[in-house]
Amino acid sequence: MTAAVGSFFLKHRRLLVIAVPMVWLLIFFLAPFLVVFKISFSEAAMARPPYLPLTSWEDGRLLITLNLGNYQFLLEDPLYLLSLISSVQIAAVSTIFALLIGYPMAWYIARSPARRRNILLMLVILPFWTSFLLRVYAWIGILRSTGVINNTLIAMGIIDEPLVMLQTNFAVYIGIVYTYLPFMILPLYANLSRLDPALLEAAADLGAKPATTFLTVILPMSLPGIIAGSMLVFIPAIGEFVIPALLGGPDTLMIGKILWTEFFNNRDWPVASAVAMVLLAIIVLPLVRFRRARG
């Protein structure tokens, strides 16, 4: 019996190793998108589940009702378009700040002595191992009107009234940069650490000052790292929900938050599905480019 199982495994080893994860991903990763796509064309209803089926059977005729109303609704109500633009804008601004903070850190680590390099890298990765939710929560305590920053500034007599920082887009930028910074630093570091120091010495020897060396040698050579890091921050930031929900205000428009509200608060599953399809379309484009860039 076990011998038979064993020989079956031997013979079809290759097939099994491919098929098992493949089938799992087809069912639980690819199929769900088709379901979302389907439901985005149905009509919301007070039912369980809260939408009407696409097909019905009436007088011997098969009726397929494609309700384009959800997408029409997304176009008509400016809220959705605005939140889409706002999401991309917030993700883009945060990516730029993450790059500005992450680049010097990655460069610093790459130029550290080998022994210290691993410790510094560990320090970059470490926050990632502690709860993301709790790290975002920490910023509430820091940014709110009775938070660490305001208390300190008032105690030092610099301000009289607390600054409003929490529940603003500023807080959202901070939250995104903070949580995604390791994703920016790691690919940058991987790229910069491979850069041969002799190239910098060669540039200096040929008369380039440090700033010129940076602009003409280091920056162009680290471009793949910059692109990889930026993608790893930008793409997930677009669909972020937790950060705008906890740190943003009521007027912080982000598509992830809209989707959540449609789904949980308005219980409008078809519209939420339509929002998901639009978000997916926005993600897929840079994703495909990213994959192609990685080769």
Partner: protein
């Protein structure tokens, strides 16, 4: 190439930015006052309160079960996926397969969450399975996105495994399954450990996907924290955060200790 002092200062600011919030969580977890950020004296009372809260303990237990299960399943599936990608060259639908194993890495949680929920609802109405939502659906959802991380981690290691070592085992009389357990598995073992830990952490940390696919009675720890935090800061969450940070720190210390000890033993012989 010497590093300029400006660069060092910028890097220092970066590290402060990374660690200041975590430090503030820990500090204020020992604050007497309910107002979290107004210091009124040292106290460990929030820890006591935390450990007496059945809601938190229940949610933590659920999260732990989910994390262990999905980390383990995703380790098996992710390792198989990486073996297929690294070892089996071309096969049909390879592009689709590799796309599906990496896409979950950047897929926004809201999309993964809503699409899996709608799948579960549809499947239930078609086949009656999975009946309702709860632990099982969370584990399936977490496995799906965690296996992508496992696949990436194991793949990186697998690419660097010297094929000739496996060929040597074959040449010395080991059959494929034996080769896998004798040679391949030990060489990728560190990646398997970190892949499992990564999946475990991600599962333990997930709020959004779990919120979509959880049912009544399967509230995970992040879901509970989120509902508490939404109402404002709460000192027992700080205490909880400190405990989690402490656990991570201990884990890191142990792995660092093991790593340096292994490193030293191999240095001493050379």
């Amino acid at each position: 190439m010497k590093r300029s002092p400006l660069l060092s200062i910028m890097a220092l600011i970066g590290f402060i930015f990374l660690y200041a919030p975590i430090l503030s969580l820990v500090v204020y977890s020992f604050n007497e006052s309910r107002l979290v950020t107004v210091w009124s004296g040292f106290s460990t009372k929030w820890y006591g309160e935390l450990l007496r809260d059945p809601q938190i303990l229940g949610a933590a237990w659920i999260s732990l079960k989910v994390a262990v299960a999905s980390a383990t399943i995703s380790l098996v599936l992710g390792t198989m996926a990486s073996l297929a990608l690294v070892r089996y060259g071309r096969f049909r639908f390879r592009e689709l397969f590799s796309g599906m194993t990496t896409a979950p890495l950047v897929m926004p949680d809201v999309i993964t969450g809503i699409s899996l929920l709608l799948l579960f609802v549809t499947m239930e109405s078609l086949f009656g399975w999975p009946a309702g939502r709860g632990l099982l659906t969370i584990i399936i959802a977490h496995t799906t996105f965690c296996m992508a991380y496992v696949a990436v981690v194991v793949e990186t290691r697998l690419i660097n495994v010297d094929r000739s070592v496996e060929e040597a085992a074959a040449d010395l009389g080991a059959k494929p399954l034996r080769i896998f357990f004798d040679v391949t598995l030990p060489s990728i073992a560190p990646a398997l450990v970190s892949g499992w830990l990564l999946a475990f952490t991600l599962s333990l940390d997930d709020l959004v996907i779990a919120s979509f696919v959880a049912g009544p009675g399967s509230t995970t720890l992040p879901m509970l924290i989120f509902s508490k935090v939404r109402l404002g800061v709460s000192p027992d969450v700080n205490a909880l955060a400190t405990i989690l940070i402490g656990l991570v720190a201990i884990g890191i210390a142990i792995s660092a200790f093991v790593m340096t000890r292994n490193g030293r033993s191999s240095e001493s012989g050379a």
